[in-house]
Every structure is written in C-alpha cells, then in structure tokens.
Subunit: 256 residues, 2 copies
DNA sequence: CGTTCGATTGAGGAAGATCAATTAATGTGG
DNA sequence: CCACATTAATTGATCTTCCTCAATCGAACG
C-alpha cells in the first residue's frame, strides 16, 4: 500500500512533455498506455463500444460500474432540477468515468460519446474485491479521483478569474495538452464541439466563443485548417499559455 | 445508546431532511455524527486542533494524511502558478480534506481554518491498511470523494449559468443547507467570510456581493442580525431556492 | 477618540450578452 | 451532380450586467 505505486505512472506529463528525447521504455513515455495495460491485466474488463451521441449512462440511472476510456472521447453533462444543461467535463483515453455515482448509488450526469468510442466496464463491486488483493489497483482508482477533483478546481478557477478570451485560450491549451499527454498530435486538432458547446462549458455565449477564436487567430496563436472552421491548428501550445498570462499581468487578482 | 455529546440540536436536521419517521435512532437523523463515530471506532484517529487562520496543510506540501473535520470549518484555497488566489471550497463537520494530494503525492491547495477547529488525522497508509479489513471504511472514503466531485460540478454549473445575484442566493442556500444537515440553526448564521472572500469564491467583486445581499434583504429572503452586517438571518431557506429559480424562468438555458 | 478595516452605495465605463443579418458548411431529394 | 434546405459560424449594432473607481459610513480596537 505504498504511494510509491501511485507515483510511478505520475512521473508523467512533465517529463514526457519536456523530454522530447527518443523513447526508451514505453512505460516512461506513455503513462496512460501503461495504466491501461495494468488495468486490463488486473480486471480483464468487458469492453463496450459507444457510438457518437450515445451515452454510457445517464443522470438518474443506478450506479453499478465505473468506466475507463480506451478509445474515443466523452463529454459529461449535468442537468439541474430546473432543466439547465451544462457540459461539465471531458474524458479522454485513460480517464475514468462515473465517480459521480458512488456517493448516492445513482449517476448525477450523462456520459456522452463524442465519437465512436470504447470504454472498459469495471463493476464497482468487482473493483473493490480485486483492489483488496491488488493495492496498486486501488491506488490507481484514488489517483484518478484525486486528479478529477484537482482538475475541477482548476476549472472553477479559470471560470472565476479569466476573461472570456483567456478562458477560450486556456481551454484550447488544456485540450491540446490532453492530446499531447496521450501522444496525439496537437498541431492539428478536431474539436468535435460546436461553438455553443464550448460556450456552454466555459460559461459564455457562442458568439463570444466565436469572437475569441477570431481574436486568437489574429493574435497568431491558433489557425483554422484549410477547409472549414471546425478543425484548428495550434503550432505552439505554449503560446496559448502565454496568451492567458498576458491577461493576468495587469490584474494579478490576489485574494483581497 | 450513544453518549449525548454536544450533538443536541438535531430536531431541525430531521425536519429539514424530511426524515422518515420520528427520531428513533440517532443514526437516522444524524448521518454525519454517525459517520464520525464509526470513523473514530475504526481508525482511532489523532486529533489536531487548528486555530482560525492556521492551515492544516499548504499547497506544495507532501501528502501523507487525509483529514476529517470534527469541529469548526475550513476554506480551501487554490493558488495558480501566476499567483492568482481563489477560495475553491468550504469544509464543514464530517467533510474530508486532502483528496487533492493523492494523485501526485503533494497537496494542491491550502486548507485554512476559519474558526478554532478540530480535525482527525487519517494517515493515508494506515487508512489503506484498515480499509482492507473494513470495507465500510473504504466505502466512506469513496463516498466522500464522490460527493466532492458532484459538488464541484454543481459549483461550476452555478458559476456558468447564474447571474451574480442568484449566485449569491445559491451560495447562501448551500451554506444554510450545510448547517441544517449538521443540525445547526439556519435562522441566524455567522458567515465568517468577508465580502471579498465570498466574491472571490463566486467569481465576482466584493461590491457585487454587497449589492446582491442588499437586494436579497429588500426581497425579504434574508435579513441582517441586529448589530453589524456580518451575521445574517435566513428565516426560510426554501425562499432562497425560489429566488434562484426566478432567474431561470425567463431563460431556462438549455444546451444549444 | 481617532485609526483601521470592512461594507455600502453611487457614477461611469467596459466586457460580454442579446438581437439580427450574412456567410459558410452540411445534408437531402430530385 | 446539382438545387435547395438546414445547421453552424461569423460579424456588427445595441443593450445589460457587472466591474472599476470613488466617497461615505459603520464597527471594532488600540
């Protein structure tokens, strides 16, 4: 029961992103692939294919299993009692889905595939049994929940402290980074999201998203791909980070 | 029977929760007290007193233990790389603190006491060992993490979909509810937060918070206590909820 | 009793929402 | 394959909300 296990896969992004050096061990450069492999060994999970627009589960359904994304990507959607609907998160390869259901044994959101995707089904009961034997498995579960909590807080912070343009830039940076960590190319990305969905996630209107993107193009930090305005190019991810920073110099918003 | 601690005023919690029958078992009407009792039995935790303004841990510190609030309350503060500081959550009696540290073995935020408080220290290693023997303990841990994730998402949703006035009302409703669940009176509450802190948490300026509060007073859903503008009265918590709803009728903000 | 910190309130301005018109991409049936 | 319908995106004009700046007031404290 050592946090050392939880750290192994976590030497991760930073070293990976900086060490552009060649691959030595697959484990070192692909922490998410490594996590998935060990998960498959330990749980031998049932696979489930979900097509674009379909949901793994919906809010209100009884909680029984957690899921891990093996391919594709998902959006998490919250629906409030009064009918407001909001995208509250995205899930990429290696991410866990379904933690919201544990507390009250019912899911609190929809998990909708944004593309043909595959998840591994991890029945919660079985997961508990196995993790009693294999502490590393439990460590993975806790690390995944912890990451989700940390990320949610960072999102809250972006919502509260960044103006619209910077929020869009920060979102694109997060998206590109998520792809980069998974070894996918970031210079040309297909968002598969409408402006309305991005705006919904970032707490602004679709017009504001559109204007922000146009501004980012003018600023030279992103570019649209040849045809259409859906796919975009991010030649330099760090430039997005710098764009965000620029908004913070005038007002470094400290608490009080 | 249980030793009748300072857990006297539970009738309100019962009525608030619309508990099944009358107060039969303490467990039924005081789930948080019950959780704390079983936690004490299972972990026999070290107690730690933290005075107002002191931190249990700070961002960057090595993660070793989780904590459960036994008395008092805490605010969680995130600090971004560029120095932005934000209140990202509050922790009341029975809440767990420290999940943010699990993933990378370092805490990502400060946990600051807002009043003289007591936490129970649960060394993570020990917790893992004990939970292998006592599955109920692990269930509690997971439920607490799950609740935190669910709550963070609800917060994101409030930030994204509610105008300033409604956000303040929703915050007060959340605060009063948190007290009610713990059997504390909600008709007179001491926030122990400055307008600046509330605004920081809700993504608005202190002036906007002040104006929102004045508006809520004029609307008759809250009132200031006799002396000072710090403590306030909430005669009817549901009225706050209705106030929030009123903002949603004109624009039931659906996705797309 | 003055100093300080927090809260309130007002006036003006800026960011972003709303409304509206146009253009671009996608899909459909002939 | 093309004409047409449909949906998404862009851009502009206007309006609202909330932020910023500033003055005032109140409470707490030495």
């Amino acid at each position: 029961m050592n946090p050392a296990h939880a750290e192994a896969p976590l030497a991760r992004a930073a070293s990976f992103l900086k060490s552009t050096g060649a691959a030595s061990a697959a484990v070192a450069i692909d922490p998410i692939g490594a996590r998935l492999r060990s998960l498959r060994e330990q749980m031998n999970p049932v696979r489930r294919v979900v097509h674009a627009g379909e949901a793994i589960f919906q809010a209100g359904e009884r909680f029984a299993s957690l899921y891990v994304v093996h391919a594709g990507l998902f959006k998490m959607i919250n629906i409030s009692a009064d009918g407001r609907e909001q995208v509250v998160g995205f899930k990429f390869r290696g991410d866990w889905i379904g933690f919201d259901g544990i507390a009250e044994a019912r899911h609190k959101s929809d998990a909708v595939a944004m593309d043909t995707s595959e998840v591994w089904v991890l029945p919660y009961e079985q997961l508990m049994v196995r993790s009693a034997e294999q502490p590393g498995l439990l460590g993975e579960l806790h690390a995944a929940m912890s990451r989700e909590i940390v990320h949610d807080r960072d999102s809250m912070m972006a919502l509260c402290t960044l103006p619209a343009d910077a929020r869009v830039a920060d979102f694109l940076r997060y998206w590109a980074e998520s792809l980069a960590i998974r070894g996918m190319r970031t210079d040309e990305i297909a968002l598969r999201l409408t402006r309305a969905e991005i705006g919904n996630y970032l707490g602004m209107t679709l017009e504001s998203v559109s204007r922000a993107l146009s501004k980012l193009v003018r600023a030279g930090v992103i570019d649209f791909c040849s045809k259409g305005r859906r796919d975009l190019q991010i030649p330099d991810v760090d430039a997005l980070g710098r764009f965000v920073q620029r908004y913070l110099v005038p007002a470094p918003a400290t608490l009080q």
